[in-house]
Structures are given as C-alpha cells and as structure tokens.
C-alpha cells in the first residue's frame, strides 16, 4: 500500500563493483553507474532496516547484503533488469561483517557478541565459534578466505582489538584471543585489513586512527594459542587529524584514508604523513569505497550524499627567487600566466613561466619603499601607484608587457588603493577618502568623477565594481557604498555590511552584487529602485573570504589558503601559505589554477587541476542532523519542499520526475536550530508565498518566496529574507525556543502566533513587507508549548495550544487580536505528557475533530463542539477515542482527512487507518503499516492529490511515499 518513491538518509554502505557503485541508503539498495552517476536500479532489500554492508565476490556473481540482523543474497548484478533477491534471512544477532569463504561456497558472518557463524549458500548453519572474550563489539573484520585460516579482528568497547581464529579452540570449546592490540583509548569503530601487506587499520573514539603492521604474516597460517607469542605486530603510525570521532578507515594502495564525525576525509601515507584533507560532507561520514585501478574513492555521509573523488590529484609547487636577493612586495598573475612582481626597491620584474626565467622590466625609483600594484580582471592591464600620486599603467600585448601610460596626480598625495573596474577604467583612493574615477582615453589618463568616502577611522577603499551606472565601493571598515556617476556622495550605503575587518571583494553575477568580507560572511544585494539592498547573508565556515571566481570561493583560514566551492563552501584545496596578510594572486584557466604568493622573500607558485580536487556528487546531500520541519507545496503540478532542522539551514527543493530531491535554494541565517516552518500563499498572488521559520534562541525569520518556471518548465526560485525577529539575551535570561507557529489571516490582516518553550504565546502583526511587529503575549502556565493550531469554524476563530503538560487549551482568537482581557476559554487534559503532533478536521460546520499524539505513545481523537453564546465561546467535549497500541515510542507525525488518518513515530512505523464519526461517536480502525528506515522521526507532511496521498516522513533524513487511495 505504501509505495516508497525516494529516501534520503545516512548512506551506511558503499561498494564498487566493476563500473557500478552499490550503495545502501536506508533499506534500499541503489546501484549507480560509476562514470555517469546514473541511477540504474533501486530495490527495497530490508523494509525499515538500514543496509550496513555490501559484499561481492570475484568469482561468484552473487553479493551478500547485510544490515542489523538481516542478511540477503542478490544475484544478477550483470543484468540489473533481472536483479533478484535470492534469499533474505533474519539472524540472531547484529552482523558486523560478512564474507564469502571456501571458494565462495560458504558465507561467514561475525556478530556483535564476538561470535562467528558459517553458513552454506542456502543458509544452513554449518558451524559457530565463540571467542573466549565475551563483550560487545562495535566493529569486526573477517580476514582470509578459508575456514582453516580465517582470522577475526574484533574491536571492543574497551579500546582493544582482539585477534582470534574461529578454527582454533581451547579446552572449553571457545576460541582463545591470540593477541590483543592495545593502544587506542576508546571504542573501536572500524577495522580494515589488507591481506597482501598484512596491514591493519583501526579507527577509534579517541580521535585517532592506527596503522598496525603484522611483521611476520607468514606465520599467521599456523598460529594458535600455544605459539601466539611468535606473532609480531607493530604500530606503523598513529594519526591525529580529525576534530572528532573517527568512524571509518580504509587501506589504500599507497596509504590509508580515515573519515569521521567532523565530516572530513583524510588521506595519509603509510608513515602517517597527511597527504590531503577533504572536507566534503557536512556531517558524519558513514561509508567509504575504494577502487585502486580507477583511483577512485567514494564516500557516503549522514546527509544522504554520495561523493566521488579522484585520489591521484597532485599539485606542483615552484619557488622563484628574485635577482640580487630582492624583497618582493606585490605579486600578480597575468593572462599569459607570467608572474609579475614589484620589490621594495621598486624593481618591476616579470617571470616568464614557459622559459622559467625572470626579467627586469623597469626600476621606478620614485616607487621605492612605498608602492601598490593592481592587475585588471582581464589580467592584461597592470597599474603601479606610489606615495606621491604617481600612476604607471602597463599592458600585456602578445605576452609582452609594455608601458602604456604614466602620470602623477596634481595633489601629489599618496594613493592608498587602486581598483580596476575594467581594463579601461579604474578608481583610486587618496587621503580623506578622496576617490577618483579615471578612464584611459587615447593612451591618456583622465579623471572623470570625484567621489568621497564617508568618514571612518581607516578611511580608504578595499574593493570596487561598476554595475550599470552604479559604482559600488567597499571600505576598510566593512561598509559598502553605492555611487552613481554624476554624484559625489553615495546614493545609499550598507553600513557594517561586514565586520570592521573590512570588505575584501565585490563582484556581480546574475544581476546581483556579491560582497565578501574578512569576517567570513558572503552577502548578496540587488538594486531596488536604484538603491543597493541586501537580500541574503551567509556566514560561511571560512574565516576570511578573499575572492570569488565562477564556482570557486577563495579564502584564508589561519595560515592556510583555501579554495572552496561557492554553493556549499566545501574545502576543495588547502595549502599552508602563512595566511592572508601577504600579497597573492589567483588565476583559474580551464580548471587549472595558479596561486602565486610571497613567502620568505620569494615568489611561490602552486599549480593544480581543480577538477581533480573537486568531489563529484553522485547524490546531492540534504540536511545534516535532524530535520525538524518539512512543508510541501504544489505549484504547476511540481512538488516543492521547504525544510529546516538542527543544521540551521533553510532549504527549498523540488522533486524532479524521478522523485529526486533537487536543491534550489539554501540559506544559513538562523543562529540556532529551525524547529518549525509555516508557509502561506500571499493574498491575491499566485506562486508567491510567505514563509516563517523559527526555532532556537527565540528567533523568527520571515521570507518571501516566488517561483517562476523557465522554458523547460524548470523552477526558478527567488527567496529573500524579509524580517528577522530576534532579541538578544540578557545575562540572566534563559534560552528560549520557539516550538510552533500559526499564521492567522483575519480581515486581510496577517497575524503570526508563536508558541515558546517558556510557556508564552507571542503574537505579531505582519505587514505587507513581511516585517513583524510584536503585539501581545498570552500565558496560562509555565509549561513548554509544543503545538499551536488555528481553527476557523463557521466564521469563528479558535486558537488551540498544546503543551508538555498534555493539555489542550482553547482561546478565542478575536479576543486576542482585539487585545481584550485574555484568558483561555477552557482546557482539557488529553495526554499524560507532552503533545508532539496534531491534526484536525471540521465536521458539520460546528464540530472539531482533533487528533493529538504524544510522548505517551497514544493517539487520541477528541470531538469538540464550539458553541457561541452571547459573544462568548463555549467548548464542549463530545467524544474521545484513545488508541495506545500502535506505536511504542513518541508519536511525532499526525494527519487526518475525512476518512483516514496517518501517524508516524520515533519507532519508525508509519501507520494508516480509517476513522469515522457518526452520531458524535468516533470509530477508528488501522489498516496498514510501513517500516521506514528514517530514524528519529520528527514529523510527517501529507499532501493529497486526486487519488493519492503524498507522504513525507522526516527526522534523520526524509522518505517520500505515495499511497493510492483507490485501493483503500
């Protein structure tokens, strides 16, 4: 009945088989073509149980799939259309590893209780061996291929790795521990073994990974409890590089890779030297797959993403010493890829990259001790400027640099900064914020316009761009000013657009202006009636943003130079250059980039292919950590999801024809988690919506969303932040969270009700520009509000609030907005404890059927009648139906329509049932159940179309299901 269309959750297993990538996402096996990333096949293997391992064999065309206590055999990987699940079994204990052994005739499994069982290919139990040490394992590895020499490495909760052989028994019939690898200081999460080299790699809770080496692996064959002291195992290296727990490790051909909770992957050489750190996923990494011949590493994370890396990516480093030990001050990269530099003694050099030779172009004695250099964005124009207003312009023609013109400003004042607007116009900044807009006309420099920077402490510009008739200038103190030609003072300004560390770069793309700051913030602006208006602000993980080109965001973090991708701010490339307080230049041409910088009086050049360093997304990631709210809307028959959660990111995505969730927009503005999202169509506007998101730190943000479609019917999303309601905490104030929101529109006025964890319900008036004005507060008890509902029945408006005390409380909405004396109409104790989900419907225009589900495992249907008496309302409870057997954990999702109900819970069951109300009596029957692999479910969203339900169950990921109503 439940037809799962898509699932996005922890990718718990990955395996490369020929040109296929097999992955386990939830209980579904997804098979991708490794090169094209096409999804070839999607099959439900274990309903509601995650797949933890996929094992193929070189000779047998069948693979083992296991997860939890489940194990299955699938065949026909060669012909995916006929892929079949040959067998599926539920074993007695949690499986940690499985392997084809004895010439691929039998299957060995190791369980969490340190026990090995060998099965025939038809899953007849052949034999079992228990290790003498009985304890819970978090990881284990089955090594070698035959019963006789099978070796087990088990990682215990007590930091040890036990090495034992199921075929070696002691007098009790148990397998003795042959050796114990002790050096970790925490749970062992993963063990890998390379049979060829005798290397063992272990990852642990203690933030480290250890590479062990069996020095005499030839004696593994005959080792037993009597001669086990002969086995010699050394620690090759112990590596620390992760900021948090190390979950996975994998031995490569010439090194090993570790991945962990901190979302990074680190490739190490066998001596423990860090080769490369990849910060790709946004959360824990749960799976790795490696293929040596293809040089490919794949990783799967808890955000549901699968990425592919080229691990052979290399970089070239060149150190160029200047003639006569000169001290370079500025460096620049030209179109020809030649490197120019000017020294302290004002020697202007060019390094010819092809000839690997340095040439002196000129010595400008007047530029000694003070000089600045600027290269235009086309990389063909170079300007040098000095302390007395001197300007020298050079041009590169056919790879040769020649002086074009020179001049001195009449005031002979120092030039603080020089910004090319394009290759013929530029801006210079002098004392007291004097800015001059100049043009090179007929090889002469002409001043066209003077601008004045408003007063600030360090009053000079740091970057500038032109956009149509506008000139936008950023200053040292983090302000951004908008000028037009013809007016000396700014049209408008964005004060403190960035912190007082300053604005570092300005550029335009897609009719937006973008600014980067040394505060790590990226902002987006539009011109609204000629005024520069900020529409988006993103705090990146990077500390100092420096430059943006195409999809590459250049930044510095501590002493490192970083290239990250613009959309996700994932670090692609990192290099120790000493920090951003130095002259540097970055040039990207066709994927090959050059980064030149000055360090220790030399010019340094790094070259690499960025494409090699850029991970390829086989599946796009979704939210990291728990999703707290998903609201779905349908526009032009396309399904859109607006979601938010613990990762503080608001995402807008669309479901494509294959039900893939495609990201359209994301914004990380919330200071803390997003707990609730409310969406409402704007009055009298099609395809335009208001969105309110709220959560931790009592922050509410209002957004304006409009969706248009291009010629291919692909949606174009514009989403802008409108209001941000957040009151900073006083020292003694406790941290408040907003638990739920309700939008109420009465007489074309929009009211927003927010339920808070301190028991207050706060009411805001929302204006046309979606800004919120606080109006009043309701309270009845100091208990955390969990749900708010606005019910309108027969022109009556009732607000229903629910809280952790299990009460349902009714309020008269009219009274509230008219700010009369506000007391609840009445309250009913429905649950033992907190109400975590609710849904309702109106019956016969005067009755309210309320469905509430709680922490106490019960689903309650209550029928109320709302009776207006002399301008007052009275609430009467007519009937009550309690169902507490369908779930065994907190019920977080609830939905009812006229005759069906749906519930979802942390116990991962989604239950569908029918309900009927007649003669004021409620009858309920459950019909069907689906086990979802989404853990820690926080709720469900349901959209009905003509004959089916579209159900989104979310929590630790999201699953989209369809239920066909015709079959009911």
């Amino acid at each position: 009945m439940f037809n799962s269309k898509t699932i996005k959750t922890d990718v718990t297993s990955l395996h490369i088989y020929n040109n296929l990538l097999l992955s386990g996402i939830g209980g579904f096996l997804h098979i991708f073509e490794l090169n094209t990333h096409n999804l070839l096949c999607r099959r439900n293997i274990f309903e509601g149980h995650k797949i933890y391992g996929i094992i193929t064999s070189a000779n047998r065309r069948e693979s083992i799939i296991y997860g939890g206590k489940n194990i299955a055999i699938i065949s026909n990987l060669e012909n995916l259309k006929e892929l079949i699940i040959k067998q599926s079994h539920l074993l007695s204990d949690w499986i940690l590893d499985a392997k084809w052994i004895d010439n691929d005739r039998n299957i060995a499994t190791i369980f969490m209780h340190n026990k090995v069982t060998v099965w025939s290919e038809n899953f007849v139990k052949l034999w079992t061996a228990k290790c003498e040490e009985k304890c819970i394992l978090y990881s284990a590895k089955i090594c070698h291929d035959y019963t006789e020499n099978m070796l087990i490495l088990s990682g215990t909760v007590f930091s040890d790795i036990l090495l034992w052989k199921p075929h070696v028994l002691n007098s009790n019939g148990e397998s003795p521990v042959l050796t114990r690898l002790k050096h970790h200081n925490g749970v062992i999460f993963n063990i890998d073994y390379n049979q060829k080299t005798g290397c063992i790699c272990s990852a642990s809770d203690d933030r480290s990974a250890i590479l062990w080496k069996i020095l005499n692996k030839e004696c593994l064959e005959e080792i037993n409890q009597h001669n086990s002291e002969n086995l010699r195992i050394n620690i090759s290296c112990q590596v620390y590089g992760h900021l948090s727990r190390v979950f996975r490790c994998c031995i490569l051909e010439d090194g090993f890779v570790t991945a962990g909770e901190d979302s990074s992957l680190i490739i190490w050489d066998f001596k423990g030297g860090l080769l490369r750190k990849i910060d790709n996923h946004q959360g824990s990494v749960w799976s790795l797959a490696y293929n040596h011949s293809k040089n490919i590493l794949c990783s799967g994370g808890n955000n549901g993403a699968i990425s592919k890396f080229n691990i052979s990516a290399t970089q070239k480093t060149t150190v160029i010493s200047l003639l006569q030990n000169e001290n370079p001050k500025h460096v620049g990269l030209l179109f020809s890829q030649n490197i120019i530099s000017i020294t302290e003694k004002a020697v202007f050099n060019v390094y010819n990259k092809k000839l690997e030779k340095i040439n002196e172009i000129a010595i400008h004695k007047d530029l000694q001790n003070y000089n600045i250099m600027a290269v235009s964005s086309c990389r063909k124009m170079v300007a040098l400027a000095g302390f007395s207003g001197q300007i020298y312009i050079y041009q590169e023609i056919n790879n040769v640099l020649k002086e074009l013109t020179k001049c001195i400003l009449k005031n002979c004042e120092r030039i603080y900064s020089f910004h090319w607007l394009n290759c013929r116009t530029f801006l210079i900044c002098q004392n007291e914020g004097k800015m001059s807009l100049c043009v090179i006309y007929k090889k002469r420099v002409c001043i066209i316009q003077r601008f004045v920077l408003p007063y600030s402490k360090e009053r000079w510009s740091t970057c500038a761009i032109s956009f149509n008739e506008h000139i936008v200038i950023g200053d040292r103190k983090g302000n951004i000013y908008n000028y037009v030609v013809g007016q000396e003072t700014p049209l408008n300004s964005c004060k403190k657009a960035h912190s007082n560390l300053g604005v570092s770069y300005l550029c335009s793309r897609n009719n937006n202006i973008l600014s980067l700051g040394k505060d790590g913030v990226l902002k987006k602006y539009i011109f609204y009636n000629g005024l520069l208006t900020c529409i988006e602000s993103t705090k990146t993980k990077l500390s100092w943003l420096a430059y943006l080109e195409e999809n590459y965001l250049i930044a510095f973090s501590a002493n490192n130079f970083i290239i990250s991708d613009y959309q996700f701010q994932r670090v692609l490339f990192e290099y120790f250059c000493g920090g951003g307080h130095r002259s540097w230049s970055f040039l990207n041409s066709q994927g090959n980039f050059m980064f030149a910088f000055i360090k220790q009086k030399s010019l340094n050049l790094i070259e690499a292919n960025l494409d090699d360093y850029t991970p390829k997304d086989i599946i796009q990631g979704y939210h990291v950590k728990e999703i707290n709210s998903i609201q779905s809307i349908v526009i032009s028959k396309q399904l859109f999801l607006i979601s938010g959660g613990e990762d503080t990111v608001l995402r807008i995505s669309v479901l494509d024809n294959n039900s893939n969730i495609k990201l359209l927009y994301n914004s990380k503005v919330h200071l803390s988690s997003i707990r609730v999202i409310s969406v409402c169509n704007l009055i009298n506007k099609i395809n335009e919506y208001m969105i309110f998101s709220a959560g931790g730190r009592a922050q509410i943000i209002s957004w304006h969303l409009s969706i248009e479609f291009n010629d291919h019917n692909f949606p174009i999303v514009t989403c802008s932040e409108k209001g941000n309601f957040y009151e900073p905490l006083r020292e003694d104030e406790a941290e408040n969270r907003i638990m739920d929101l309700a939008i109420i529109i009465i007489n074309n006025e929009i009211f927003l009700f927010s339920g808070c964890s301190d028991g207050y319900i706060k009411i805001y008036l929302v204006d046309d520009n979606l800004t919120m004005t606080y109006k009043t507060t309701l309270t009845y008890k100091h208990t955390c509000i969990t749900k708010l509902l606005n019910v309108s029945i027969n022109k009556l408006n009732v607000l229903v609030s629910m809280a952790t005390d299990g009460h349902v409380v009714f309020w008269n909405t009219f009274e509230i907005i008219n700010e009369k004396k506000i007391n609840p109409i009445s309250g009913f104790k429905i649950h033992q404890s907190g109400i975590s989900s609710t849904s309702y419907r109106i019956i016969n225009n005067n009755k309210l059927l309320l469905m509430t589900c709680g922490d106490d495992n019960s689903v309650v249907f209550t029928l109320f009648e709302i009776i207006p008496i002399n301008n007052k309302l009275e609430i009467k409870l007519l009937d009550n139906f309690v169902e507490d057997g369908i779930h065994c954990a907190q019920i977080t999702g609830a939905y009812i329509n006229n005759n069906i109900f749906l519930t979802s819970s942390i116990d991962q069951r989604v239950v569908l049932g029918t309900l009927c109300v007649s003669n004021n009596k409620i009858t309920v029957k459950h019909l069907n159940k689906y086990n979802s692999a989404i853990a820690d479910q926080q709720g469900l969203d349901c959209l009905e179309d003509e004959n089916s339900l579209n159900i989104f169950v979310y929590g630790n990921g999201v699953e989209y299901m369809k239920v066909n109503l015709e079959n009911l």
């Binding site: 509601g48 809770d205 007395s388 991962q908």
Partner: protein, 459 residues
C-alpha cells in the same frame, strides 16, 4: 557560549549542581520512586553501570542516610533545606540505616559515597554476581537499578540495539542477584522495535511499566522500564538466561494479535515538578540569587583528551632539565633535587582531590628559594629550559607586528621628487570633455565581471 549557557538551557542540570547531585539523572530516579515507591523497605540494593554515581547517590541518601527527600511540595520542590542538613558534617550517626547495603558496580572507579560498596567489575561476568551476593551475606537484593548507556554513535538503530544488549546484560546479572518479588529498573531507548524488548520482560516480572520521568527530556528517546514482582518461571536457571530471552530471534509478526501485550506507559513527576523542555529563567521565584556552580563531578579522562598523563620518562627528562639549568647558574638546587623529585612524582600520582594541597605546599617552598637572587633567576630563565620557548614567543611576536601593520601606518618616507619629473601631471579637476565622458560611461556600463566583460585590450 559562556559557562552559564548549559544552566540556561536545562533546569535540571542547574538544579542538580545546586543540590550537590553528581548528575541530573538523579532526578529521574527520584521521580520514578515518587510514582512507583520502589525504594520503600529496600535494604539491599544494587546499582549497575553506576559511574559517575548519581543513582547510587540517591540510594545512599534515601536509604542509607535516611534523608527525607520530598519532591511533592512545590515550594520545597528541590528540598534545599533537607540538603543543607546533609551537607553539615554533623549528620546524626543515629539517623543512618546501618542495615542498608548498597553495592555499585562499574568498570570504572568512582568517588566514594556513604554506605555504598563499590565493585569494579564487569556486569556480564558471573563472578561479579557472586561477589555482590557475598556483600549481602548470601542474601539477594530487593532492588537492582541500571542507568547505563552505550557510546552513542548517531546511527540510531545501532545505538538502540546496543542499549538493548546492555539492558539484557544487566538483566542477566539481575536474575542472579534479585530476590523473588524484587524490582528491576533500567534505561531503555524508545525507538524501533523497543516493544519487542519490553514485552519479553513480562515473562520474568509480574508488572512491567515504561516510565518517563519529567526530568528526562520530551525530545529524548530515553525512558525506563520499571519491572516489579520478579517471578522467574519454574526451572528457570538464570545462568542460562541468554538463550531463554533471545530478543533477537523475534520479529514484529510475533507481536501481532493475541501475543501482543501493550506495556503501559507512565509519566512520572508531579504536576508541580519542573519540566525539562520548558525554559526557566536563571532566577526562579522564591529562591536565593542565582549563582553559577561548577559541576559536582567533572568528566574523568575523556578518550579524546590530548594531554596524555606524563610518563616516567617525561618526568625524568623534566627534572633533568631543571637540574642542568640549576647547575649552570650555580644555584644550590642540586641538593634539593631529591625533594623536588619526590614532589613532582607525587603530583602525578595523587588523586585530583589531593593534588591541590600537595602542589601548593611543595612548590611554594621552592619558589621562595629561587627568588633570593634575582640575577641568578634571570640567568636561569635566559639559559634554562624556558629559553627556547621565550625565543620562539619573541619571534612570533615580531612576525605578527610586521604582518599586521596596516599600510596606512607605514612610516612616511621621503620620495625623491626629482624622479617624478618625467611624469605628466594629471589635473585634479574632473574632465568635462563629453567624448571622454561618453567613453567612460560606455566602459563603466560593461561592468567588471571577469567572464562576461568584453576585454578592450585587443584594441
């Protein structure tokens, strides 16, 4: 995030510190007791997975010290008065229940508690069960509690499974030490398949409830099974319990229809009890002024601690360095080396509690000695073990100065204006030539986007 931020977020965390509980979980047991009255008449109790010991602390204070802990009265919700009585060392000896025996078992050691016997052992071992019974002089326990939880990985199904295994482990030892009719309380994770586990407990106990104390967060999957009236079936051998209660072999289907028993879910905590999801101000009505308090028991050596305990060779090396430095400046410390030696070694071997007194007394002496001659001390620093470090700090400082110097403050240097003569002076006034302005506007409007801009340089 200040140190108060956790206080702001969680009322029970704050209250636990204020009332001297080792962890907030103490309230969970108190609230369960309030509902089920599990502590009344108990003289022999076992706490499994006890560290850091907050549940043992509850047993110790309620059973052994015979404290009245009333959490029903709203004004006296957190019995601050009762606590002050306890904290005064003059707790009447007579009030103690000497016949109460509490045994706490954990792999890790924990700080001692009055009336609690500690066993450092593995709960999965039969010998541990025997040891417990020895402490009860051959008798069996009235109550077994277990608040143990595994290292949570973030993969929920695995965490829930491991927690269930931990509970089975605890149940295994419980069956060996619990008297008939006794009570067993343990933490469970309410999640996938947790009803499979709770259902099976009914084969060993007359009454099973799943309890959720108010002090346990609404959003947390944690709950507690309260199993009362232990009655093992005839012929049940607790040593062979594991195959008997193989949770793992069952599936959902066994829980359908007639076999299915719904375990009652009970919320514990009085109406007036604080709610762990509600935000409370730091300053609560009717209480003394809020004051930040350090945790009662800070975590002991987490696995990610990067400061390894100094090894013997580290200490030796350290002492050698000091000795050398002392000798170089002719400071008569050589003879004192032995005492210094001893004190340093002691420092690293004594408990946290003793460390303070030890270090203060010994080090004060030495500091006085070496301060007699300032010049000598300086010399010692200049050439001593810190010399390298000082040099490095200086270097770093110097480097920073150079790097952070803003362009504008660079000392103004004389520019040789003679060199400028060949330059054409550019007029400060704005050009009014319309042709030039038009050219400029044309250029300006092209924008400076490096990849859409038409480059004029080919001109």
């Amino acid at each position: 995030m200040g140190k108060k931020s956790k206080d702001k977020r969680d009322i029970y965390y704050r209250k636990a510190k204020e009332q001297g509980w080792r962890a907030r979980s103490a309230f969970k047991l108190l609230q369960i007791d309030e509902k089920f009255n599990i502590l009344s008449g108990v003289t022999k109790a076992v706490d499994l997975c006890a560290a850091p010991g907050s549940w043992s602390q509850v047993l110790s204070r309620k059973l052994y010290l015979n404290e009245e802990i009333d959490i029903k009265e709203p004004t006296n919700l957190f019995y601050t008065e009762a606590l002050t009585q306890v904290q005064t060392p003059a707790t009447n000896e007579s009030k103690k229940n000497e016949n109460v025996k509490i045994v706490a078992v954990d792999l890790q050691p924990m700080s001692p508690l009055p009336g609690v016997i500690q066993i450092q052992g593995d709960i999965t071992k039969y010998s541990t069960a025997q040891e417990i019974i020895t402490h009860f002089e051959g008798e069996k326990a009235d109550l077994v509690i277990c608040d143990g939880a595994p290292d949570v990985t973030g993969l929920h199904c695995m965490d829930i499974y491991i927690q269930a295994q931990l509970l089975l482990g605890a149940l295994h030892i419980t069956c060996n030490v619990l008297r008939e009719g006794g009570t067993f309380i343990a933490k469970i994770f309410r999640g996938k398949d947790s009803d499979l586990l709770t259902n099976q407990l009914l084969t060993l106990f007359r009454e099973v409830h799943v309890a959720k104390p108010k002090s346990s967060r609404h959003s947390s999957i944690e709950a507690f099974v309260v199993c009362q009236g232990y009655f093992p079936p005839d012929g049940f051998d607790p040593k062979l319990m594991t195959p008997y209660l193989e949770v793992s072999n069952k599936d959902f289907s066994t829980l359908e229809g007639i076999n299915r028993v719904i375990i009652p879910f009970i919320v514990c905590g009085d109406v007036s009890a604080y709610d762990s999801d509600t935000t409370y101000p730091l300053q609560l009505k009717g209480e003394g002024p809020y004051e930040y308090r350090a945790p009662v028991q800070p975590p002991i050596a987490p696995p990610y601690s990067f400061k390894p305990e100094p090894t013997k060779s580290d200490i030796d090396q350290f002492l050698k360095k000091i000795d050398e430095a002392a000798k170089r400046v002719g400071l008569g410390l050589g003879a004192d080396m032995k005492s210094l030696n001893d004190s340093v070694r002691k420092l690293n071997l004594t408990d946290i509690d003793d460390q303070e007194s030890c270090s203060s007394s010994n080090f004060d002496d030495i500091a006085e000695d070496s301060c007699e001659n300032e010049a000598k001390t300086k010399d010692m620093f200049d050439n001593g073990p810190y010399f390298d470090l000082l040099l490095k700090v200086e270097e770093v400082k110097k480097l920073k100065v150079v790097e952070e110097e803003p362009e504008a403050t660079i000392e103004l240097r004389n520019v040789d204006l003679k060199n400028l003569q060949e330059l054409e002076f550019l007029c400060e006034y704005e050009s009014s030539d319309p042709e030039i302005i038009a050219a400029l506007l044309k250029h300006v409007q092209q924008g400076n986007n490096p990849h859409t801009c038409t480059c004029f340089c080919s001109e």
